[in-house]
Symmetry: C2
Protein backbone atom coordinates (compact mmCIF):
# COMPACT_ATOMS: atom_id res chain seq x y z
CA UNK A 1 0.00 0.00 0.00
CA UNK A 2 1.45 3.34 -0.97
CA UNK A 3 -1.22 5.64 0.44
CA UNK A 4 0.20 8.59 2.35
CA UNK A 5 -1.57 7.48 5.53
CA UNK A 6 1.46 5.23 6.05
CA UNK A 7 3.73 8.17 6.67
CA UNK A 8 1.49 10.41 8.76
CA UNK A 9 2.59 11.10 12.32
CA UNK A 10 0.22 9.79 15.00
CA UNK A 11 -0.65 13.39 15.95
CA UNK A 12 -1.58 14.18 12.34
CA UNK A 13 -3.71 11.06 12.08
CA UNK A 14 -5.47 11.77 15.38
CA UNK A 15 -6.24 15.31 14.20
CA UNK A 16 -7.94 13.89 11.09
CA UNK A 17 -10.01 11.54 13.27
CA UNK A 18 -10.85 14.38 15.68
CA UNK A 19 -12.07 16.30 12.64
CA UNK A 20 -14.46 13.46 11.85
CA UNK A 21 -12.69 10.99 9.52
CA UNK A 22 -13.86 7.45 10.37
CA UNK A 23 -11.83 4.69 8.66
CA UNK A 24 -9.98 1.50 9.66
CA UNK A 25 -6.40 2.25 10.72
CA UNK A 26 -4.55 -0.83 9.47
CA UNK A 27 -1.48 0.48 7.65
CA UNK A 28 -1.65 3.96 9.13
CA UNK A 29 1.45 5.58 10.70
CA UNK A 30 3.86 2.77 9.92
CA UNK A 31 5.87 1.67 12.92
CA UNK A 32 3.64 3.28 15.56
CA UNK A 33 1.62 1.30 18.10
CA UNK A 34 -2.12 1.00 17.67
CA UNK A 35 -4.42 0.10 20.56
CA UNK A 36 -7.90 -1.18 21.33
CA UNK A 37 -10.14 0.75 23.73
CA UNK A 38 -12.62 -0.43 26.33
CA UNK A 39 -13.89 2.02 28.94
CA UNK A 40 -16.14 0.94 31.79
CA UNK A 41 -17.53 2.60 34.94
CA UNK A 42 -15.09 2.43 37.87
CA UNK A 43 -17.23 -0.15 39.67
CA UNK A 44 -16.40 -2.65 36.88
CA UNK A 45 -12.74 -1.70 36.55
CA UNK A 46 -11.40 -4.37 38.92
CA UNK A 47 -13.38 -7.15 37.28
CA UNK A 48 -12.21 -6.06 33.85
CA UNK A 49 -8.56 -5.73 34.88
CA UNK A 50 -8.74 -9.17 36.49
CA UNK A 51 -10.36 -10.53 33.32
CA UNK A 52 -7.46 -9.10 31.32
CA UNK A 53 -4.93 -10.64 33.71
CA UNK A 54 -6.60 -14.01 33.18
CA UNK A 55 -6.77 -13.66 29.38
CA UNK A 56 -3.47 -12.03 28.44
CA UNK A 57 -3.39 -13.22 24.83
CA UNK A 58 -6.75 -11.58 24.11
CA UNK A 59 -6.46 -8.60 26.45
CA UNK A 60 -2.87 -7.43 26.91
CA UNK A 61 -3.36 -4.18 28.86
CA UNK A 62 -0.85 -1.49 27.91
CA UNK A 63 -2.36 1.48 29.76
CA UNK A 64 -5.14 2.29 32.23
CA UNK A 65 -6.50 5.80 32.71
CA UNK A 66 -7.45 7.52 35.94
CA UNK A 67 -11.25 7.62 36.47
CA UNK A 68 -12.83 10.23 34.23
CA UNK A 69 -9.59 11.19 32.52
CA UNK A 70 -9.36 10.97 28.71
CA UNK A 71 -5.55 11.09 28.85
CA UNK A 72 -3.17 8.21 28.22
CA UNK A 73 0.54 8.03 28.94
CA UNK A 74 0.98 6.42 25.51
CA UNK A 75 0.00 9.64 23.68
CA UNK A 76 0.23 12.63 26.03
CA UNK A 77 -1.36 15.10 23.60
CA UNK A 78 -4.31 12.92 22.71
CA UNK A 79 -7.92 12.95 23.89
CA UNK A 80 -9.35 9.43 24.05
CA UNK A 81 -12.89 10.81 23.64
CA UNK A 82 -12.29 12.28 20.17
CA UNK A 83 -9.07 10.97 18.64
CA UNK A 84 -10.16 7.45 17.67
CA UNK A 85 -11.84 7.17 14.24
CA UNK A 86 -14.84 5.27 15.56
CA UNK A 87 -16.51 4.34 18.84
CA UNK A 88 -19.23 1.97 19.95
CA UNK A 89 -21.61 2.58 22.83
CA UNK A 90 -22.71 -0.51 24.74
CA UNK A 91 -25.76 -0.19 27.01
CA UNK A 92 -27.19 -3.08 29.02
CA UNK A 93 -25.11 -5.50 26.98
CA UNK A 94 -26.22 -4.21 23.57
CA UNK A 95 -24.25 -2.20 21.02
CA UNK A 96 -26.65 0.71 20.66
CA UNK A 97 -24.70 3.23 18.65
CA UNK A 98 -21.57 3.87 16.61
CA UNK A 99 -20.17 7.41 16.90
CA UNK A 100 -17.14 9.43 15.86
CA UNK A 101 -16.63 11.01 19.30
CA UNK A 102 -17.85 10.27 22.84
CA UNK A 103 -17.25 13.49 24.74
CA UNK A 104 -20.64 13.55 26.43
CA UNK A 105 -20.73 9.82 27.07
CA UNK A 106 -17.35 9.85 28.86
CA UNK A 107 -18.60 10.30 32.43
CA UNK A 108 -16.51 11.17 35.47
CA UNK A 109 -16.26 7.55 36.56
CA UNK A 110 -15.13 6.00 33.26
CA UNK A 111 -11.89 4.00 33.44
CA UNK A 112 -10.35 3.29 30.04
CA UNK A 113 -8.15 0.35 29.21
CA UNK A 114 -5.89 0.44 26.18
CA UNK A 115 -5.13 -3.01 24.87
CA UNK A 116 -2.42 -4.10 22.45
CA UNK A 117 -3.44 -4.51 18.80
CA UNK A 118 -2.14 -6.95 16.25
CA UNK A 119 -1.82 -4.15 13.71
CA UNK A 120 1.33 -3.35 15.68
CA UNK A 121 3.16 -6.46 14.50
CA UNK A 122 1.97 -6.32 10.89
CA UNK A 123 4.86 -4.07 9.89
CA UNK A 124 7.27 -6.60 11.44
CA UNK A 125 5.59 -9.37 9.42
CA UNK A 126 6.01 -7.36 6.22
CA UNK A 127 9.65 -6.68 7.05
CA UNK A 128 10.14 -10.44 7.49
CA UNK A 129 8.70 -11.01 4.02
CA UNK A 130 5.35 -12.37 5.23
CA UNK A 131 2.47 -10.98 3.16
CA UNK A 132 -0.34 -9.28 5.11
CA UNK A 133 -3.12 -9.50 2.58
CA UNK A 134 -5.70 -7.10 4.08
CA UNK A 135 -2.97 -4.49 4.55
CA UNK A 136 -1.88 -4.71 0.91
CA UNK A 137 -5.51 -4.39 -0.19
CA UNK A 138 -6.27 -1.49 2.16
CA UNK A 139 -9.02 -3.48 3.90
CA UNK A 140 -9.90 -4.13 7.53
CA UNK A 141 -8.67 -7.36 9.13
CA UNK A 142 -11.34 -10.10 9.50
CA UNK A 143 -12.31 -10.91 13.12
CA UNK A 144 -14.41 -13.78 14.45
CA UNK A 145 -16.21 -14.61 17.68
CA UNK A 146 -15.08 -18.14 18.55
CA UNK A 147 -16.64 -20.95 20.56
CA UNK A 148 -13.69 -20.74 22.93
CA UNK A 149 -14.69 -19.38 26.32
CA UNK A 150 -12.46 -16.85 28.00
CA UNK A 151 -11.45 -17.37 31.63
CA UNK A 152 -14.12 -15.50 33.58
CA UNK A 153 -13.61 -12.86 36.29
CA UNK A 154 -16.80 -12.33 38.30
CA UNK A 155 -19.40 -10.91 35.86
CA UNK A 156 -16.90 -10.72 33.00
CA UNK A 157 -17.26 -13.76 30.77
CA UNK A 158 -17.81 -14.61 27.14
CA UNK A 159 -16.14 -15.80 23.96
CA UNK A 160 -12.62 -15.12 22.78
CA UNK A 161 -12.49 -13.03 19.59
CA UNK A 162 -9.68 -13.67 17.11
CA UNK A 163 -8.24 -11.85 14.13
CA UNK A 164 -7.25 -13.91 11.10
CA UNK A 165 -4.49 -13.53 8.55
CA UNK A 166 -4.12 -15.98 5.66
CA UNK A 167 -0.43 -16.85 5.48
CA UNK A 168 1.39 -18.94 2.84
CA UNK A 169 2.07 -22.37 4.34
CA UNK A 170 5.81 -21.96 3.90
CA UNK A 171 5.75 -18.77 5.99
CA UNK A 172 3.50 -19.78 8.88
CA UNK A 173 6.47 -20.65 11.08
CA UNK A 174 8.05 -17.26 10.39
CA UNK A 175 4.76 -15.58 11.31
CA UNK A 176 4.81 -17.43 14.65
CA UNK A 177 8.39 -16.42 15.31
CA UNK A 178 7.90 -12.75 14.44
CA UNK A 179 4.68 -12.27 16.41
CA UNK A 180 6.02 -14.17 19.43
CA UNK A 181 8.30 -11.19 19.90
CA UNK A 182 5.24 -8.99 20.66
CA UNK A 183 3.63 -10.59 23.72
CA UNK A 184 1.82 -7.34 24.63
CA UNK A 185 0.38 -7.13 21.11
CA UNK A 186 -1.33 -10.55 21.38
CA UNK A 187 1.93 -12.40 20.72
CA UNK A 188 2.00 -15.80 19.06
CA UNK A 189 -1.09 -17.13 17.27
CA UNK A 190 -3.73 -18.80 19.43
CA UNK A 191 -4.59 -21.27 16.72
CA UNK A 192 -3.40 -22.27 13.26
CA UNK A 193 -5.15 -23.99 10.39
CA UNK A 194 -8.53 -25.26 11.59
CA UNK A 195 -11.35 -22.68 11.71
CA UNK A 196 -13.94 -25.35 12.53
CA UNK A 197 -12.34 -26.17 15.86
CA UNK A 198 -12.77 -22.51 16.86
CA UNK A 199 -16.44 -22.71 15.88
CA UNK A 200 -15.94 -20.62 12.75
CA UNK A 201 -18.34 -22.05 10.18
CA UNK A 202 -17.48 -19.74 7.31
CA UNK A 203 -14.21 -17.84 7.03
CA UNK A 204 -15.74 -15.63 4.35
CA UNK A 205 -18.22 -14.16 6.85
CA UNK A 206 -16.33 -12.57 9.72
CA UNK A 207 -18.20 -11.13 12.70
CA UNK A 208 -16.20 -7.88 12.49
CA UNK A 209 -14.06 -6.27 9.79
CA UNK A 210 -13.88 -7.18 6.11
CA UNK A 211 -14.08 -10.56 4.40
CA UNK A 212 -10.64 -12.15 4.11
CA UNK A 213 -8.46 -12.43 1.05
CA UNK A 214 -7.18 -15.99 0.85
CA UNK A 215 -4.87 -17.30 -1.87
CA UNK A 216 -4.11 -20.88 -2.89
CA UNK A 217 -1.69 -22.45 -0.45
CA UNK A 218 -2.58 -20.06 2.37
CA UNK A 219 -3.27 -21.32 5.88
CA UNK A 220 -5.62 -19.37 8.20
CA UNK A 221 -3.72 -18.16 11.25
CA UNK A 222 -5.63 -16.78 14.26
CA UNK A 223 -4.44 -14.31 16.87
CA UNK A 224 -6.12 -13.12 20.08
CA UNK A 225 -8.01 -9.90 19.36
CA UNK A 226 -8.64 -6.77 21.40
CA UNK A 227 -12.27 -6.80 20.28
CA UNK A 228 -12.72 -9.54 22.90
CA UNK A 229 -13.59 -6.95 25.61
CA UNK A 230 -16.51 -5.76 23.48
CA UNK A 231 -17.81 -9.32 23.23
CA UNK A 232 -17.37 -9.67 27.00
CA UNK A 233 -19.19 -6.38 27.72
CA UNK A 234 -22.08 -7.71 25.65
CA UNK A 235 -22.04 -11.21 27.18
CA UNK A 236 -21.82 -9.77 30.70
CA UNK A 237 -24.70 -7.37 30.00
CA UNK A 238 -22.69 -4.42 31.33
CA UNK A 239 -24.97 -1.42 31.93
CA UNK A 240 -22.55 0.86 30.11
CA UNK A 241 -19.26 0.69 28.22
CA UNK A 242 -17.50 2.55 25.43
CA UNK A 243 -15.22 0.79 22.95
CA UNK A 244 -13.46 1.64 19.72
CA UNK A 245 -15.19 0.40 16.55
CA UNK A 246 -13.46 -2.80 15.36
CA UNK A 247 -10.48 -1.96 13.15
CA UNK A 248 -10.68 1.76 13.98
CA UNK A 249 -7.93 2.00 16.53
CA UNK A 250 -6.26 4.48 18.85
CA UNK A 251 -2.88 5.37 17.29
CA UNK A 252 -0.35 6.11 20.02
CA UNK A 253 2.98 7.95 20.08
CA UNK A 254 4.88 4.78 21.03
CA UNK A 255 7.00 2.98 18.42
CA UNK A 256 6.15 -0.65 17.67
CA UNK A 257 9.69 -1.65 18.47
CA UNK A 258 9.23 -0.54 22.08
CA UNK A 259 7.20 -3.69 22.70
CA UNK A 260 9.52 -6.22 21.02
CA UNK A 261 10.75 -8.83 23.49
Amino acid sequence: MSAPVESLTPAEARQMFRDGLSVPTSGWCTGMTQANLIAVPKQYAYDFLLFAQRNPQSCPVIDVTDPGSPRTSLAPGADLRTDIPGYRIIADGVVVEERSEVTEQWTDDMVAFLIGCSFTFEHALVEAGVPVRHLTAGRNVPMYRTHIASRAADVMHGPIVVSMRAIPASQVATAVQVTSRYPTMHGAPLHIGDPASLGIADLASPDYGDAPLIEDGDVPVFWGCGVTPQAIAVAAGLPFAISHAPGKMMITDVADKFWAA
Copy 2:
Protein backbone atom coordinates in the same frame (compact mmCIF):
# COMPACT_ATOMS: atom_id res chain seq x y z
CA MET B 1 23.38 -28.20 46.87
CA SER B 2 22.65 -31.87 47.41
CA ALA B 3 20.02 -31.60 50.14
CA PRO B 4 16.96 -33.75 49.48
CA VAL B 5 14.70 -30.67 49.49
CA GLU B 6 15.64 -30.37 45.82
CA SER B 7 13.73 -33.49 44.92
CA LEU B 8 10.63 -33.10 47.09
CA THR B 9 7.32 -32.70 45.32
CA PRO B 10 5.56 -29.37 45.91
CA ALA B 11 2.82 -31.19 47.85
CA GLU B 12 5.44 -32.79 50.14
CA ALA B 13 7.14 -29.46 50.70
CA ARG B 14 3.86 -27.69 51.44
CA GLN B 15 2.96 -30.39 53.98
CA MET B 16 6.25 -29.72 55.80
CA PHE B 17 5.49 -26.00 55.88
CA ARG B 18 1.91 -26.68 56.99
CA ASP B 19 3.42 -28.71 59.84
CA GLY B 20 5.42 -25.67 60.93
CA LEU B 21 8.79 -25.73 59.12
CA SER B 22 9.84 -22.15 58.34
CA VAL B 23 12.86 -21.88 56.01
CA PRO B 24 13.78 -20.07 52.78
CA THR B 25 12.72 -22.08 49.72
CA SER B 26 15.50 -21.27 47.25
CA GLY B 27 16.56 -24.61 45.77
CA TRP B 28 13.47 -26.50 46.92
CA CYS B 29 11.48 -28.68 44.47
CA THR B 30 13.75 -28.20 41.48
CA GLY B 31 11.91 -27.18 38.35
CA MET B 32 8.69 -26.13 40.07
CA THR B 33 7.44 -22.54 40.11
CA GLN B 34 7.72 -20.51 43.31
CA ALA B 35 5.59 -17.43 43.95
CA ASN B 36 5.38 -14.35 46.14
CA LEU B 37 2.19 -13.60 48.08
CA ILE B 38 0.44 -10.33 48.85
CA ALA B 39 -3.14 -10.39 50.11
CA VAL B 40 -5.14 -7.21 50.65
CA PRO B 41 -8.76 -6.40 51.52
CA LYS B 42 -11.01 -6.34 48.44
CA GLN B 43 -11.33 -2.55 48.58
CA TYR B 44 -7.61 -2.30 47.73
CA ALA B 45 -7.59 -5.07 45.11
CA TYR B 46 -8.10 -2.82 42.08
CA ASP B 47 -5.40 -0.39 43.13
CA PHE B 48 -2.98 -3.25 43.71
CA LEU B 49 -3.79 -4.99 40.42
CA LEU B 50 -3.36 -1.67 38.59
CA PHE B 51 -0.07 -1.14 40.43
CA ALA B 52 1.07 -4.56 39.22
CA GLN B 53 0.02 -3.75 35.64
CA ARG B 54 2.13 -0.59 35.83
CA ASN B 55 5.15 -2.35 37.36
CA PRO B 56 5.31 -5.69 35.54
CA GLN B 57 9.01 -6.35 36.13
CA SER B 58 8.53 -6.08 39.89
CA CYS B 59 5.00 -7.47 40.14
CA PRO B 60 4.22 -10.03 37.43
CA VAL B 61 0.84 -11.38 38.60
CA ILE B 62 0.39 -15.09 37.90
CA ASP B 63 -2.83 -15.73 39.84
CA VAL B 64 -5.52 -13.82 41.74
CA THR B 65 -7.86 -15.51 44.22
CA ASP B 66 -11.55 -14.96 44.71
CA PRO B 67 -12.28 -12.80 47.80
CA GLY B 68 -11.86 -14.85 50.98
CA SER B 69 -10.70 -17.97 49.18
CA PRO B 70 -7.33 -19.52 50.12
CA ARG B 71 -7.28 -21.56 46.89
CA THR B 72 -5.08 -20.95 43.85
CA SER B 73 -5.35 -22.45 40.40
CA LEU B 74 -1.58 -22.92 40.45
CA ALA B 75 -1.76 -25.56 43.23
CA PRO B 76 -5.30 -26.91 43.54
CA GLY B 77 -4.63 -28.92 46.71
CA ALA B 78 -2.92 -26.11 48.59
CA ASP B 79 -4.16 -23.74 51.29
CA LEU B 80 -2.56 -20.31 50.95
CA ARG B 81 -3.15 -19.65 54.68
CA THR B 82 -0.94 -22.48 55.90
CA ASP B 83 1.26 -23.83 53.10
CA ILE B 84 3.86 -21.06 52.86
CA PRO B 85 6.80 -21.40 55.27
CA GLY B 86 6.49 -17.87 56.60
CA TYR B 87 4.08 -14.93 56.57
CA ARG B 88 4.21 -11.27 57.52
CA ILE B 89 1.29 -9.28 58.87
CA ILE B 90 1.21 -5.62 57.88
CA ALA B 91 -1.09 -3.30 59.88
CA ASP B 92 -1.37 0.43 59.23
CA GLY B 93 1.75 0.27 57.09
CA VAL B 94 3.91 -1.51 59.67
CA VAL B 95 5.15 -5.10 59.66
CA VAL B 96 3.80 -6.13 63.05
CA GLU B 97 4.30 -9.87 63.11
CA GLU B 98 5.91 -12.84 61.37
CA ARG B 99 3.92 -16.08 61.59
CA SER B 100 3.93 -19.61 60.20
CA GLU B 101 0.21 -19.61 59.34
CA VAL B 102 -2.48 -16.95 58.92
CA THR B 103 -5.76 -18.88 59.16
CA GLU B 104 -7.44 -16.43 61.54
CA GLN B 105 -6.05 -13.34 59.82
CA TRP B 106 -7.38 -14.40 56.38
CA THR B 107 -10.74 -12.58 56.49
CA ASP B 108 -13.63 -13.06 54.08
CA ASP B 109 -12.64 -10.06 52.00
CA MET B 110 -8.97 -10.90 51.44
CA VAL B 111 -7.88 -11.05 47.81
CA ALA B 112 -4.53 -12.75 47.29
CA PHE B 113 -2.13 -12.06 44.45
CA LEU B 114 0.53 -14.59 43.55
CA ILE B 115 3.50 -12.97 41.87
CA GLY B 116 6.29 -14.60 39.90
CA CYS B 117 9.54 -15.27 41.76
CA SER B 118 13.07 -15.18 40.44
CA PHE B 119 13.79 -18.51 42.18
CA THR B 120 11.88 -19.94 39.20
CA PHE B 121 14.63 -19.09 36.72
CA GLU B 122 17.54 -20.06 38.95
CA HIS B 123 17.41 -23.65 37.76
CA ALA B 124 17.56 -22.41 34.16
CA LEU B 125 20.62 -20.33 35.06
CA VAL B 126 22.32 -23.36 36.59
CA GLU B 127 21.47 -25.44 33.52
CA ALA B 128 23.11 -22.73 31.36
CA GLY B 129 26.26 -22.98 33.47
CA VAL B 130 25.73 -19.71 35.35
CA PRO B 131 26.59 -20.11 39.04
CA VAL B 132 23.87 -19.07 41.51
CA ARG B 133 25.96 -18.47 44.60
CA HIS B 134 23.29 -18.27 47.31
CA LEU B 135 21.70 -21.45 45.95
CA THR B 136 24.97 -23.38 46.10
CA ALA B 137 25.51 -22.18 49.66
CA GLY B 138 21.96 -22.94 50.79
CA ARG B 139 21.33 -19.31 51.72
CA ASN B 140 18.54 -16.84 51.03
CA VAL B 141 18.95 -14.42 48.11
CA PRO B 142 19.88 -10.84 49.10
CA MET B 143 17.18 -8.22 48.42
CA TYR B 144 17.41 -4.43 48.55
CA ARG B 145 15.00 -1.52 48.69
CA THR B 146 16.17 0.85 45.96
CA HIS B 147 15.83 4.60 45.47
CA ILE B 148 13.89 3.88 42.27
CA ALA B 149 10.23 4.81 42.63
CA SER B 150 7.64 2.45 41.26
CA ARG B 151 4.89 3.80 39.02
CA ALA B 152 2.07 4.64 41.44
CA ALA B 153 -1.57 3.55 41.26
CA ASP B 154 -3.77 5.65 43.54
CA VAL B 155 -2.60 4.95 47.10
CA MET B 156 -0.11 2.33 46.01
CA HIS B 157 3.36 3.84 45.75
CA GLY B 158 6.84 3.24 47.02
CA PRO B 159 10.27 1.93 46.11
CA ILE B 160 11.14 -0.93 43.79
CA VAL B 161 12.77 -3.86 45.59
CA VAL B 162 15.39 -5.91 43.73
CA SER B 163 17.06 -9.26 44.24
CA MET B 164 20.78 -9.51 43.50
CA ARG B 165 22.91 -12.31 42.14
CA ALA B 166 26.66 -11.89 41.73
CA ILE B 167 27.51 -13.26 38.28
CA PRO B 168 30.96 -13.77 36.71
CA ALA B 169 31.52 -10.94 34.19
CA SER B 170 31.91 -13.41 31.34
CA GLN B 171 28.46 -14.88 32.06
CA VAL B 172 26.38 -11.74 32.63
CA ALA B 173 25.16 -11.73 29.02
CA THR B 174 24.08 -15.38 29.34
CA ALA B 175 22.21 -14.51 32.55
CA VAL B 176 20.33 -11.77 30.65
CA GLN B 177 19.47 -14.14 27.81
CA VAL B 178 18.27 -16.96 30.07
CA THR B 179 16.15 -14.79 32.37
CA SER B 180 14.66 -12.83 29.45
CA ARG B 181 12.82 -16.05 28.62
CA TYR B 182 10.87 -15.75 31.91
CA PRO B 183 8.98 -12.44 31.63
CA THR B 184 6.40 -13.52 34.22
CA MET B 185 9.20 -14.38 36.66
CA HIS B 186 10.64 -10.83 36.59
CA GLY B 187 12.37 -11.46 33.25
CA ALA B 188 15.57 -9.67 32.30
CA PRO B 189 17.57 -7.80 34.93
CA LEU B 190 16.46 -4.26 35.79
CA HIS B 191 20.00 -3.11 36.35
CA ILE B 192 23.54 -4.44 36.02
CA GLY B 193 26.76 -3.44 37.69
CA ASP B 194 26.21 -0.21 39.64
CA PRO B 195 24.59 -0.59 43.07
CA ALA B 196 25.12 3.10 43.89
CA SER B 197 22.82 4.27 41.12
CA LEU B 198 20.03 2.20 42.71
CA GLY B 199 20.74 3.86 46.05
CA ILE B 200 22.34 0.73 47.51
CA ALA B 201 25.12 1.98 49.77
CA ASP B 202 26.41 -1.37 50.95
CA LEU B 203 25.85 -4.62 49.06
CA ALA B 204 26.88 -6.56 52.15
CA SER B 205 23.83 -5.31 54.06
CA PRO B 206 20.67 -6.28 52.21
CA ASP B 207 17.27 -5.13 53.45
CA TYR B 208 15.87 -8.67 53.18
CA GLY B 209 17.47 -12.12 52.92
CA ASP B 210 21.08 -13.07 53.57
CA ALA B 211 24.27 -11.17 52.85
CA PRO B 212 25.58 -11.93 49.36
CA LEU B 213 28.46 -14.14 48.37
CA ILE B 214 30.57 -12.25 45.83
CA GLU B 215 33.71 -13.64 44.21
CA ASP B 216 36.51 -11.82 42.38
CA GLY B 217 35.38 -10.89 38.88
CA ASP B 218 31.69 -11.04 39.75
CA VAL B 219 29.33 -8.27 38.68
CA PRO B 220 26.19 -7.53 40.75
CA VAL B 221 23.08 -8.16 38.66
CA PHE B 222 19.68 -6.92 39.91
CA TRP B 223 16.23 -8.29 39.09
CA GLY B 224 12.79 -6.97 40.00
CA CYS B 225 11.61 -8.65 43.20
CA GLY B 226 8.20 -9.78 44.40
CA VAL B 227 8.93 -8.31 47.81
CA THR B 228 8.11 -4.96 46.19
CA PRO B 229 4.41 -5.27 47.16
CA GLN B 230 5.41 -5.51 50.83
CA ALA B 231 7.41 -2.29 50.51
CA ILE B 232 4.40 -0.71 48.76
CA ALA B 233 1.96 -1.89 51.45
CA VAL B 234 4.23 -0.24 54.03
CA ALA B 235 4.77 2.97 52.03
CA ALA B 236 1.02 3.25 51.32
CA GLY B 237 0.19 2.72 54.99
CA LEU B 238 -2.36 0.01 54.11
CA PRO B 239 -4.58 -0.75 57.11
CA PHE B 240 -4.06 -4.48 56.61
CA ALA B 241 -2.15 -6.87 54.35
CA ILE B 242 -0.65 -10.35 54.52
CA SER B 243 2.51 -11.27 52.65
CA HIS B 244 4.92 -14.16 52.56
CA ALA B 245 8.16 -13.66 54.52
CA PRO B 246 10.94 -12.68 52.09
CA GLY B 247 12.58 -15.78 50.60
CA LYS B 248 9.94 -18.10 52.09
CA MET B 249 7.80 -18.68 49.03
CA MET B 250 4.65 -20.43 47.90
CA ILE B 251 5.72 -23.53 45.93
CA THR B 252 3.17 -24.27 43.21
CA ASP B 253 2.37 -27.37 41.16
CA VAL B 254 3.34 -25.62 37.89
CA ALA B 255 6.62 -26.49 36.17
CA ASP B 256 9.10 -23.65 35.60
CA LYS B 257 9.17 -24.46 31.91
CA PHE B 258 5.49 -23.54 31.62
CA TRP B 259 6.48 -19.85 31.79
CA ALA B 260 9.37 -19.92 29.32
CA ALA B 261 8.75 -17.60 26.39
